[in-house]
Structures are given as structure tokens and as C-alpha cells.
């Protein structure tokens, strides 16, 4: 399966930022411009990756997507709606603090999400999100079971267990289910495979891929794993010092080796291998990121 084809996309970006700037602690000696005029577009159904050195603003950026952080200037638009715009229609006192529905369209999963578990049972914890959306108990029920199925959580065995009695991998899946149950159109994950063993990593990647292909959820991942990028991502954004450093298809971006190395980021191992072989005189294309394709390319060159 070619990972450079854009599947299930349309033309309107589902998520877009316009001249997004964010300054921490303005007007104090600790003032810090974390984001500087960031303009990005994520199309519906895309699998996007955000990478960059520490402090480049990746986390700050994604926290704007669901309204956790408000821009110092600039706009964040989800499905063409400015998520920070106050609604003009009159709201009664009770709903003054209610979360605007557009915020729930973007689900944010932080690093080591298992730490957000707090309820008595797995069921209750997954239900937390949907309940906060003020859905009916039946709807909440339905969503919890669906989410558990998606995350391959055995509902019968697990739903009444304490989340703290589970293994690390299971806890992570419960945490993810909790966000999935809110049925966001865009799922943002910060280092989704951090701390998992190789098998856990690949299981999680499979789940994410299926979510992408079957539910058409737009996926945005912050990651350090080049292989993850190579295998899964159609659209790559590189952040550096609060600005967009590169934005496009992974293969293109990675072929500009100097640019990548300037940031001390690696490139996918497969690509690295192809590059070195080319340097040694083999005639092959180097703008390939996937392992299997690289293997094919090498075989071709050996003939």
C-alpha cells in the first residue's frame, strides 16, 4: 500500500491556522514567543505528522486545535469555523460555561495518556468524555461500547475492572478509548507510542490505521519515530523555533537531506540506507520512505 497517496480527502481543509501566534507570559520578563505566524492546513481524512526539535512549538501548536490554548493573535479554524469566536446568539445563564460543540470535533491525546485515568471502572472512565458532552445515557453507553471495540478492549472482562489493575498497554488503550468515545473528527496524538514495546507500538499503529481508513478520522501525530512517519503519514510538517520549517509530503521533505540534518532530526532508516547506497554508486531513487518500497528499489538496482 503506497503511503504517499492521499486517500479519502476532499478539498476543504478540516483544520487550518491563519497567522497563528502564541506568546507565553506576555509583558513579563519570562515572555516567550512559542508560535510565530504559523499557517498550516490539514485536509479531511489526512494522516499528518508533526515533528521538530524540542521547544519547537509542537505541543503549543496542537493545544490550539481544540481550544485548550487561545491564540495571542491569528485564528484557528475547524471546519471553517473560528473556534475561539464567541457565539452571537443569546445564551442563558446555565449554558454560559458549556463547551462549544466545535471544540469536541478535535480530540487531543497527550503523551502517556494512561495517567488521565481516574474512575472506578474502565467503563466509567471511558464514559467520562461523552458524559461531559451532555449526551443521553443511552448514547453514552453506545459510544463506550463502540470505543472499546475499536481499541480491542474486551468489554465483558474489562468494563467493571479498575483501570489501575490493568497493564500499561491496556491502560493506554482505555485512555484512547476515552477520547475516541467523544467521536472527534480530528484526532491529535502526542507521541502515541511513547513507552510501548515494539509489539505494543505496532498494535497501536494498526488501530490508528484502521481508524483512519474505516472511520475516515483525520489523524495528526506528533512523533519522534521516523519509521512511524515513513509508514503512516501523508502530510508532514516540521516545526522549528515556533515556525513552520517544512510542510509537504514526507518523501519530498526527506530528500532535502541538509535541511533535515540542520535540525538534527534523522530521516527514516530505509531512506538513509538508500542514500548511502547511492553514494556508493548504486543507481536508485532515494525519495522513498517505506521499508518495503525501499527493498524493491534495492532489488531493482541489483539487477
Amino acid at each position: 500500500m503506497s503511503n504517499n497517496e492521499l486517500t479519502n480527502t476532499s478539498d476543504t481543509p478540516i483544520l487550518r491556522t491563519e497567522n497563528l501566534c502564541h506568546v507565553y507570559q506576555p509583558g513579563t520578563p519570562f515572555e516567550f514567543a512559542a508560535l510565530n505566524n504559523v499557517n498550516i492546513e490539514i485536509k479531511k481524512g489526512e494522516m499528518a505528522g508533526i515533528i521538530g526539535p524540542t521547544g519547537s512549538g509542537k505541543s503549543t501548536l496542537v493545544q490550539h486545535f481544540n481550544g485548550l490554548l487561545k491564540p495571542t493573535s491569528g485564528r484557528v479554524l475547524v471546519e471553517n469555523q473560528d473556534i475561539n469566536k464567541r457565539e452571537k446568539k443569546k445564551r442563558d445563564k446555565k449554558s454560559k460555561d458549556s463547551e462549544k460543540p466545535v471544540c469536541f470535533k478535535v480530540g487531543l491525546v497527550f503523551q502517556f495518556p494512561e495517567y488521565q485515568l481516574f474512575e472506578e471502572t474502565v467503563f466509567e472512565d471511558i464514559a467520562f468524555g461523552p458524559r461531559n458532552m451532555e449526551l443521553s445515557p443511552d448514547e453514552v453507553n453506545k459510544r463506550v461500547y463502540e470505543a472499546m471495540e475499536w481499541m480491542k478492549i474486551d468489554a465483558e472482562n474489562m468494563k467493571d475492572r479498575s483501570p489501575f489493575s490493568l497493564s500499561g498497554g491496556e491502560m493506554r488503550r482505555v485512555a484512547l478509548a476515552g477520547v475516541l468515545a467523544m467521536q472527534p473528527s480530528v484526532l491529535v496524538l502526542d507521541e502515541p507510542t511513547a513507552g510501548l514495546d515494539p509489539r505494543g507500538c505496532s498494535e497501536l499503529r494498526d488501530i490508528l490505521r484502521r481508524l483512519h481508513s474505516e472511520l475516515n478520522i483525520t489523524l495528526i501525530m506528533i512523533t519522534h519515530e521516523m519509521q512511524e512517519i515513513a509508514r503512516m503519514v501523508d502530510h508532514l510538517i516540521i516545526m522549528n523555533k515556533g515556525e513552520v520549517y517544512a510542510d509537504g509530503a514526507p518523501a519530498e521533505i526527506f530528500s532535502n537531506k541538509e535541511k533535515i540534518e540542520a535540525l538534527e532530526l534523522g530521516i527514516p532508516p530505509a531512506m538513509e540506507l538508500l542514500n548511502r547506497l547511492q553514494q556508493k554508486g548504486f543507481n536508485l531513487k532515494t525519495n522513498i520512505t517505506g521499508m518495503e518500497e525501499a527493498a524493491d528499489e534495492i532489488l531493482k538496482a541489483l539487477k
Partner: protein
């Protein structure tokens, strides 16, 4: 709630000044004497000298005055109450006639004097303790405490263990604060709302933050215990230290200087006027 990140832990302002370099035990001892002095002294000249002394110390420490002022803010309310109570409720000879504009304001000379003195005392007290915590890091204070309590080991006070626990607790406060912030953000992203409704509801809404916070705390304890054990930590018996508290000439001078000033203040208090 991003203000969690802005909170300065404790009041310590790092520096290399004369005051910073004094042995913390000396600073604690001198502060203690000064505190007693502040409470005993009645004379205004005495207060003035003490104030001058504290200003000098502030100058020597290189710590900006605004940090000291910041320490005074919390007690303004207390000072106000003390002044009001002393002013209007004390017994003694009246300053003003019973009623002004139909309101009785029984201000007595004694009450007035006490009010002023108490206000001065409270301010001086906070000034001096602020200086102590501003110029001495919590770790130094803990070391000093361990050292000062060491002789009490004989009567069963576990000085070393207490100091170690203090150090660990101090060390993890910033970590826990940061983690609380992350937990807060994660739960907000799940639609959690805090601070709504009556007090019971408000308290319940804090569970998504409280439970993970405790989980984190126990996890840290787990990791730290493993780390210390694997480095063969065996408790306080015969343990040597990297940082050692040493009394230097500087401390000697500090003792001398303070000794002179404090003695003079005490003498003036009993034999001088005003």
C-alpha cells in the same frame, strides 16, 4: 489555571552575595535571636535600629526590595485587624471623648501605643523571616535543620530521616505542579469543567485531577525507592556528605556584628528613653 506554572516556589532568590554565603545555621540562629528581640523591644529607637539593620542586610544581599514587599502582602490583613482591635477595644485612659458624631470611639493611649508597636513588630517580623527565606535555599535550610537537630537523635528524633524526607518533598513539588498542569489539560480536553456548582460539586469535579495526582506521587515514590536502593542507600548511619556546612570567617564577622547591634538595642531598651 496556567498560573500553576508561574508560582515561584518558596521565596528563594538565588545569589552569591555576602548574605547568601553565610552558613544557614548561623542565619537561622541569628534570625531566632532577632525575632525574640523584636518582641521584647518597646523603644521606638530600638525598632528604628532594627529596621536599619534589616535594610542593611537587604542591601548586602543584593535582593531587590520588591521581593521583600511581596512578603508583606499576606499579613496586611492581620496588621489591620491587630491595629483595629488594639485601637478600639483596649482598656485604659481615653484619648478622645466618648462620642464623635454619635459614634463611640473609645481610643485609649495604651491602645494606640500598642497598636502602633504591634504593627511595627509584625512588619519587622515578616521582614526578617522573609530575608531568611529569600537568601537561603530550601535545601540549605533543610541541611541546617538536620545539623541542628542531630544532637536530638539521642532522644529519638530522626533528624536525618526528617531532613531526607524534607529534601525529597521539596524536590518533587515543582514536578508535581507541572504534572498537575498536564493532567488538567488532558482532562479539559475530555470536556471536564472545574469550579461549577455548589461546594460539593466543585469538590467532585476535582477528582479527575486529584486521583491522577496521587497516582503520579506513588509512582515517583516507587521509582525513587528503586533508584536509591540500587545505589545502596542505607540510611543515615555513617553517611558522608558532598555538601558540607562549614563555619567560615564570614560567619564570625556576622556573629560579631549582630552581637554588637542586638546588645545595643537590648541595652537601650532597658536603660534608654523612647
Amino acid at each position: 489555571m496556567n498560573l500553576l506554572k508561574d508560582i515561584t516556589i518558596g521565596q528563594y532568590v538565588p545569589g552569591e552575595s555576602t548574605i547568601h554565603r553565610l552558613d544557614p545555621r548561623v542565619k537561622i540562629a541569628l534570625s531566632a535571636v532577632l525575632m525574640v528581640l523584636i518582641f521584647v523591644v518597646e523603644s521606638y529607637i530600638g525598632f528604628a535600629i532594627i529596621f536599619g539593620f534589616l535594610l542593611l542586610v537587604t542591601l548586602l544581599s543584593g535582593i531587590q526590595f520588591r521581593y521583600v514587599i511581596r512578603g508583606l502582602k499576606p499579613i496586611l490583613f492581620l496588621v489591620l485587624i491587630t491595629v483595629v482591635f488594639n485601637l478600639f477595644f483596649a482598656k485604659g485612659t481615653l484619648v478622645v471623648p466618648q462620642k464623635i458624631y454619635g459614634i463611640s470611639l473609645p481610643i485609649t493611649w495604651e491602645g494606640l501605643a500598642t497598636a502602633v508597636r504591634m504593627a511595627i513588630r509584625l512588619i519587622l517580623l515578616v521582614f526578617s523571616t522573609s530575608l531568611l527565606t529569600l537568601s537561603t535555599s530550601p535545601i540549605q535550610l533543610t541541611d541546617a535543620m538536620e545539623n541542628l537537630l542531630a544532637p536530638f537523635k539521642k532522644i529519638g528524633i530522626p533528624a536525618h530521616e526528617l531532613a531526607m524526607m524534607m529534601t525529597i518533598a521539596l524536590r518533587f513539588i515543582p514536578v508535581l505542579i507541572e504534572e498537575t498542569d498536564k493532567i488538567f489539560k488532558a482532562q479539559r480536553s475530555r470536556g471536564a469543567r472545574f469550579g461549577r456548582g455548589g461546594i460539593i460539586e466543585k469538590a467532585k469535579s476535582l477528582l479527575p485531577i486529584l486521583v491522577p495526582l496521587f497516582v503520579h506521587a506513588f509512582k515517583h515514590a516507587e521509582d525513587l525507592a528503586a533508584a536509591m536502593e540500587s545505589r545502596c542507600y542505607r540510611g543515615g548511619e555513617g553517611r558522608t556528605r558532598l555538601r558540607q556546612l562549614k563555619i567560615t570567617a564570614l560567619d564570625g564577622w556576622a556573629f560579631l556584628f549582630c552581637g554588637i547591634i542586638f546588645s545595643f538595642v537590648a541595652w537601650w531598651n532597658f536603660y534608654g528613653k523612647l
